[in-house]
Point group: C2
């Protein structure tokens, strides 16, 4: 199965049904398809060839959905970029992927302006507005629809390239094939029990697979897409009420904001049947509060971009049916493997661990990525013996429920975004006063985890947390900048001189059952 | 994904849960797996090699489920045989597939006795009982468990070989791959909205894919298997009540019998959440009666062995949400394509027909068979331009609902069984008195369609319907024997001398909206 088949089905079976609600704009599936057919033509007219990478840098909107489908119809590989990246990071990702074209939202234009001179392969930037001679809408209006994919896709062909933070401090492209994303769509239809009556709210950012998978899965079943440009709790609740949203995915930070909004109970959210959440673990007390505040099903998902993304699921019914396990313990779990994905917790020798013993989560299935773009070593390291190695440490109980306890990779998840400590440390080291820097995640009520820096200054040097943050801002995205800084005399080290981050973290995580949040 | 992964998942996540209820026997998933591991060893000990065909001839029971899994673990191809076939037909299928081993239920032993001398490749017959030195249970008991598949399966490998009636009068083997059956399992999990709480009743015969798919799909989700040895309406209702069955598949003939059972309302069937039905079209008045009698969801499925089997689905909610269509018209439809299968209605030139115009149902997707066993011509004819040609004529409305109106292939569906008229005609022609024979399906209140023969006798010859039936019984299964016979002077013919069956059928189907039942 291919992405374009999901749209073809929706047009054939649900052509006159409302497909898209974006602000005041409403489109039927037939109208949506016609816009996609025209934007495909615009891409072809811009010189896009099958296999070319074309990138998007946009906030959520119907054009993002259109780009996912038009890029595929044009035979291209879509590279969705995190809109919070610093200009230097955007330029790096575009050059690394050798992207030929960029579609940028008007809000992101300042980023494009700054990085444009550094782009080595991008030939055109299309601004996603309806004004201007060369805008998205102008190009679309003057194009003749392209009604079918311009290439014959094979299931193993690369179709999406998602850049994620790299352990080496440089982002790397996760290569997903048609089969990868379509197998996840199958998993999603089942796991979320979608029906054609469903209305999906694109609330999490669409550059991330946490939401992007819904572009083709919700289309496949003929559901409706509603777009929330940027997350804001009252806007979220207002859209749920106005458009009778039935299902969405939120990251824990978002659900906190919703539950804590003073006027939350003035909105009618009775249309919600299911809230799914993922991207970072959900603190149990927050989940309990959310379940009390919102009268619908809750489903926790675990996965990663490399697994397209879903691998495990915890349903509210898993908690109800728990026997011999305290509900809170079960709530702390990310659930069990979804049918179609094999998930194991293994020790360093590739053996399944016994219940209660921590090991690394590994995953196998048709949803596992092709590899990292032009990174054979990192691909070989991640995909060992046919299994995707997550870097997440977990325990598994006798019923197969998996609970993440720590992260093997040196990664922080803050507000649903992955931050590798090494890239933050690299930025810190560019400051003249820094002798040694260690970046760790510490528990934070608002963000789940907070980027925290432990710094040893050069002899005689002086600086402040604010000064370090300002220095970092030139190199890395705002969400990666340390929100707290601690100055110390020296860092704990191993015999071989490696900084012992586990010791640094231990002080902050004392008294907690797991070392992720 | 592979069949063995469904069992592995169930054992890992639901090991201590009740997996099987067969008569008074109950097995957990762990116990079931151990029996399968031992029977796999018994197959290997019997000399079964990877790729060998091993056949089953049994009524529904837990051993049938075990055979599906043990055959796959042994690396073999399972050939499930219709237990109603005549001995000559059983021998033909076994020899055609060059099967090396047969597992036969004690009730089918008389058939084995009759055909054994004709078997050219079968080296061993295992009787599926718990007594006798060489029985299923004796072999199982003395074997050392084989814990993993003895071969590395590839997704495209042949795993099941289902014999279906052939247009040429000879049965042909439908070759299904691991990917075929596992893609259908994905479709089934979604279409039936399975949960691990589900209890499946194997009510339709397990030699047929109408029920067999549930062996791996229900196992995958960790549901429970309950077995009904042979269909009988009060036994069906009694098992539903006793075992709290939640979902099953029945053919229309079965549901008629259930609804018409005088004591039907004395059983508590409140555990049923979904009744699926398929294998032959359901008359609208029967469906309405069933929906009134049984307080659960109904789902009509259309497909064929060649499509593993599901392709379309009609849900009760499709009827509720129908606009501009009379409920009865929608009820006559077999629904719309399931996500994952492409279904079209095409004219003779391979073009999609307009709404309301009849064409042939064609299907494409990962569920479409590899081909017919050693029948390259029939394979090429069925799989044209990548589409499986069903031989069913249908119309499609503007919302994609498909309604079967006639059959392009000369086939009769009686009580859920496919009968090709040519094989019945072949049997009739063996009677000395028969000059010409034409077999058609005519509407029948009990069987949906009835096998009806129109006969021209040789000059001066005489015979009766009973005599013809007795003669046929030596060559074909009981369900294929004409239930009514009409003697005529001559048959209507085309200019080229071909019998015009359409004219013969017209008289019987007058005043009906569709020519299938």
């Amino acid at each position: 199965m291919f992405i374009h088949q999901t749209l073809a089905r929706a047009v054939r079976l649900f052509g006159t049904r409302q497909a898209v609600v974006c602000g005041e704009m409403r489109l039927t599936y037939r109208e949506l398809e016609q816009r996609i057919a025209r934007f495909t033509a615009a891409l072809v007219a811009a010189g896009v060839q099958p296999g070319d990478r074309i990138a998007t840098l946009m906030l959520n909107c119907h054009r993002y959905l259109e780009c996912y489908f038009a890029a595929e119809r044009a035979g291209a590989v879509l590279q969705p970029l995190n809109h919070r990246l610093a200009p230097a990071e955007v330029a790096y990702a575009l050059n690394d992927a050798r992207a030929v074209l960029l579609v940028a939202g008007p809000e992101l234009w300042p980023v494009v302006e700054v990085c444009r001179a550094q782009l080595t392969t991008v030939r055109q930037v299309i601004v996603a507005t309806d004004t201007g001679e060369d805008s998205y809408e102008a190009r679309l209006a003057r194009s003749t629809p392209v009604d079918a994919p311009v290439r014959t896709w094979a299931e193993e062909d690369l179709v999406h390239l998602y850049y994620t933070s790299g352990t080496t401090g440089r982002a790397k492209g996760v290569m997903l094939s048609q089969r990868n994303v379509m197998s996840n769509a199958h998993h999603a239809l089942f796991a979320h029990r979608f029906t054609e009556q469903d209305v999906w709210l694109h609330a999490a950012p669409m550059f991330h697979l946490a939401d992007a998978w819904a572009c083709w899965a919700v289309t496949w079943i003929g559901g409706r897409h509603v777009f929330l440009r940027e997350f804001q709790p009252s806007a979220f609740l207002s859209l749920v009420e106005r458009e009778q949203v039935s299902v969405t995915l939120v990251v824990p930070t978002m659900i906190n904001a919703i539950v804590n909004l003073p006027e939350a109970d003035t909105f009618d959210v009775s249309s919600l049947r299911l809230i799914t959440f993922g991207a970072s673990p959900m603190p149990v007390d927050r989940l309990t509060a959310a379940m009390q505040a919102l009268p619908c099903q809750f489903s926790q998902l675990y996965g990663m971009t490399e697994t397209s993304p879903f691998a495990t699921q915890l349903l509210a019914e898993d908690i109800m049916t728990a026997t011999g396990v305290a509900p809170a313990e079960r709530l702390a779990s990310c659930g069990r493997e979804i049918p179609g994905v094999e998930v194991r917790v293994q020790d360093a020798h590739g053996q399944d661990v016994r219940p209660g013993v921590a090991g690394e989560i590994v995953m196998r299935g048709p949803n596992v990525m092709l590899g990292y773009w032009e990174r054979p070593d990192e691909t070989a390291h991640a995909l060992r013996n046919g299994w995707m190695h997550s870097g997440d440490l977990a325990t598994v109980d006798a019923s197969g429920y998996i609970t993440i306890v720590d992260r093997a990779k040196d990664m922080i998840i803050t507000g649903g975004e992955n931050v590798y400590s090494t890239e933050v440390e690299d930025a810190l080291y560019r400051h003249a006063a820094v002798l040694e820097a260690a970046v760790i995640g510490v528990p934070d009520d608002l963000w789940g985890e907070r980027v925290h820096a432990v710094i040893v200054l050069r002899p005689g040097a002086r600086t402040t947390a604010e000064d370090l943050a300002d220095s970092c801002r030139r190199f890395i995205a705002g969400f990666k900048i340390p929100r707290s800084v601690e100055f110390v005399e020296s860092l704990p080290k191993t015999g071989s001189g490696k900084i012992q981050k586990s010791e640094l973290r231990a002080r902050h995580w004392r008294g907690r059952g797991r070392r992720v949040n």
